[in-house]
């Protein structure tokens, strides 16, 4: 029986609880870790002690980000990867295992946004958004998951969106794939709980990143967001850093299948 006295006495060190967030010697793979939200998350994981593998398409930004992380004494492997290509995903997994021997944390962050009215979006564009935002997340999770199942531990963090929960105009491909991320997260959580793998997602609201810059610069869109948000500002990439450490660490060991919305109160009202 749980008893508060026993609970209180089971704590030995005064700062023990913060140790749950430590990621020392953990190996984290972050897709799209070279820029935007992925870069901020890679930095946070590294600062918390993890070795970080950043995978992205642009060689230049990969090198820049890797250099920046190394300046903060983070061990980094940067790999040029197109998550739309299965052979690239295999290479990502193999190179990570060759270098670090394990994968503890997978952050499926790479994604694209394609905004067009539903009646105009081409099948080619629809398929492309699906391939990057959902298919690649399934494939990489499956590849890394096989390893985590053998390892009997792992943390997978997917990046959903407030669009996982709510539709907005002219974003049908983004929204449908991000809603898919929510169900993929729940399904993997359910199937892999028995292997001590926790699968959760982060659902960012409106964040100012390279990808969202056109919306940020559009006066109508910008004020729509500010007016709706009671917190009165767009999110900054560093607003995800606490959540990623939480979900990647033992601090969240009893949480699985959830989406943490980090949206400045958007979904609340």
């Amino acid at each position: 029986m749980v008893d508060s006295q026993l609970l209180a006495e089971s704590k030995t060190e005064p700062m023990g609880i913060l140790d749950k967030f430590i990621l020392s010697n953990k190996v984290a793979v972050v897709t799209g870790g070279n820029r935007g939200l992925g870069k901020a998350m890679a930095r946070a994981l590294g600062e918390a002690g993890a070795h970080v593998v950043i995978a992205g398409r642009s060689r230049n930004s990969l090198e820049e980000t890797a250099e920046e992380l190394r300046q903060h004494r983070i061990e980094v492997l940067a790999l040029q990867v197109d998550v739309g290509k299965e052979e690239d995903l295999d290479r990502l997994v193999n190179r990570t295992l060759e270098t670090f021997k394990r994968i503890d944390i997978l952050v499926n962050n790479a994604g694209i946004s394609y905004r067009q009215p539903a009646e105009k979006i081409s099948l080619e564009n629809w398929d492309h958004v699906y391939k990057i935002n959902l298919r690649s997340v399934f494939l990489l999770s499956q590849k890394v998951g096989k390893f985590m199942i053998k390892q009997r531990s792992g943390k997978i963090v997917n990046v959903g969106s407030l669009l996982s929960e709510q539709a907005v105009p002219e974003a049908i491909a983004d929204s449908t794939t991000k809603a898919g991320i929510k169900m993929l997260t729940q399904s993997l959580a359910l199937e892999w709980a028995q292997y001590n793998i926790q699968v959760n997602a982060i659902g960012p609201g409106y964040f100012r990143t390279d990808m969202m810059e056109p919306l940020y610069q559009n006066p109508a869109q910008h004020s729509m967001v500010i007016n709706r948000l009671s917190i009165k500002r767009w999110g900054k990439p560093e607003d995800l850093q606490g959540a990623i450490i939480f979900l990647a660490s033992a601090a969240s060991d009893y949480m699985t299948g959830q989406v943490l919305y980090i949206d400045g109160g958007w979904l609340a009202g």
């Binding site: 749980v2 209180a8 005064p14 607003d239 606490g242 450490i245 601090a251 969240s252 949480m255």
Partner: protein
């Protein structure tokens, strides 16, 4: 190096945290855990003795805490409590609403049909869980709105997201707490300050004084059929540990979470993600 970064991100050094129901199992665990992260804790409880016990635990580990006798259903009483907290600690930064609970007479069972549940215990459970959150929020919101900054965490329940069989009053009351969390988040930031945050944690199954009679056999301590059903329905196949709520609260209270607002965070071992089949 990583420790310093994490301390900066998650430490509560110098902050004052008030916890209602701080003498209970989960409230007490939150009190002890958050004090380990550096917070000064005001342990509020209707029964002072229970609060004292938690304060002693905190002092044993060299933390700072003080017990306050306070009834969450008595506004005047809560106003006196916040005055005493401010007098003792000079400040209060965080309110955690952990007071709440269920009772067998507001729970349908083989012995008590839904049609026969008396109004009085029904009302009592609605009161302690909903009004017992609402009233402390009113009192602390007054202070937070003057200061233009503050943080409230309501402790909701999995029962709010997925009504549990038998547990009628508690499920309804906690559901109201979720709705109120969203309402209050928007209301306070729209009218007072965008630096006042309101969120909730929805614990799944943790053994507590309130649910022990449903989940374990009084005599043998073995899981009841219901306890077994819950474990079978929890993908992680175990009850939660109180410190897993502490780490969730630390994440929510961190400055790194300042864009997290109006949310309800389930900590339920996957219970709510699982259809049961």
């Amino acid at each position: 190096m990583s420790k310093t970064y994490l301390e900066k991100m998650f430490s509560l050094e110098g902050q004052v945290v008030a916890i209602t129901g701080g003498g209970g199992v989960l409230g007490g665990a939150l009190a002890v855990g958050l004090s380990q992260a550096g917070a000064k804790i005001a342990v509020l409880n209707r029964t002072q003795k229970k609060a004292d016990r938690i304060v002693n635990e905190i002092k044993k580990i060299k933390g700072t805490a003080m017990a306050f006798s306070a009834d969450v259903l008595d506004k005047k009483n809560m106003e006196n409590a916040i005055q005493s907290i401010i007098k003792e600690f000079g400040m209060v930064d965080v309110l955690i609403n952990c007071a709440g609970g269920n009772q067998p007479t507001a729970t349908a069972s083989d012995q008590l049909r839904f049609m026969d549940i008396p109004q009085e215990p029904m009302q009592a459970v609605l009161n302690i869980n909903f009004l017992g959150t609402f009233i402390p929020c009113q009192v602390f919101a007054q202070f937070f709105s003057e200061k233009k900054v503050g943080h409230i965490i309501n402790i909701s329940s999995m029962a709010a997201l997925r009504p549990l069989t038998k547990v009628v009053a508690y499920s309804a009351a906690k559901s109201a707490v979720n709705n109120f969390t969203q309402w209050l988040a928007v209301h306070l930031s729209q009218n007072y300050s965008s630096s006042i945050r309101v969120n909730a944690i929805a614990p799944g199954f943790f053994l507590t004084e309130q649910n022990r009679f449903l989940l374990t056999d009084e005599k043998s301590g073995e899981l009841t059929a219901r306890g077994k059903t819950i474990i079978a329905h929890t993908p992680l196949a175990r009850f939660g540990e109180a410190e897993e709520l502490v780490s969730t609260a630390l994440w929510l209270l961190s400055p790194a979470s300042r864009f997290v607002h109006g949310t309800v965070i389930p900590v339920d071992g996957g219970f709510s993600a699982f259809s049961g089949v």
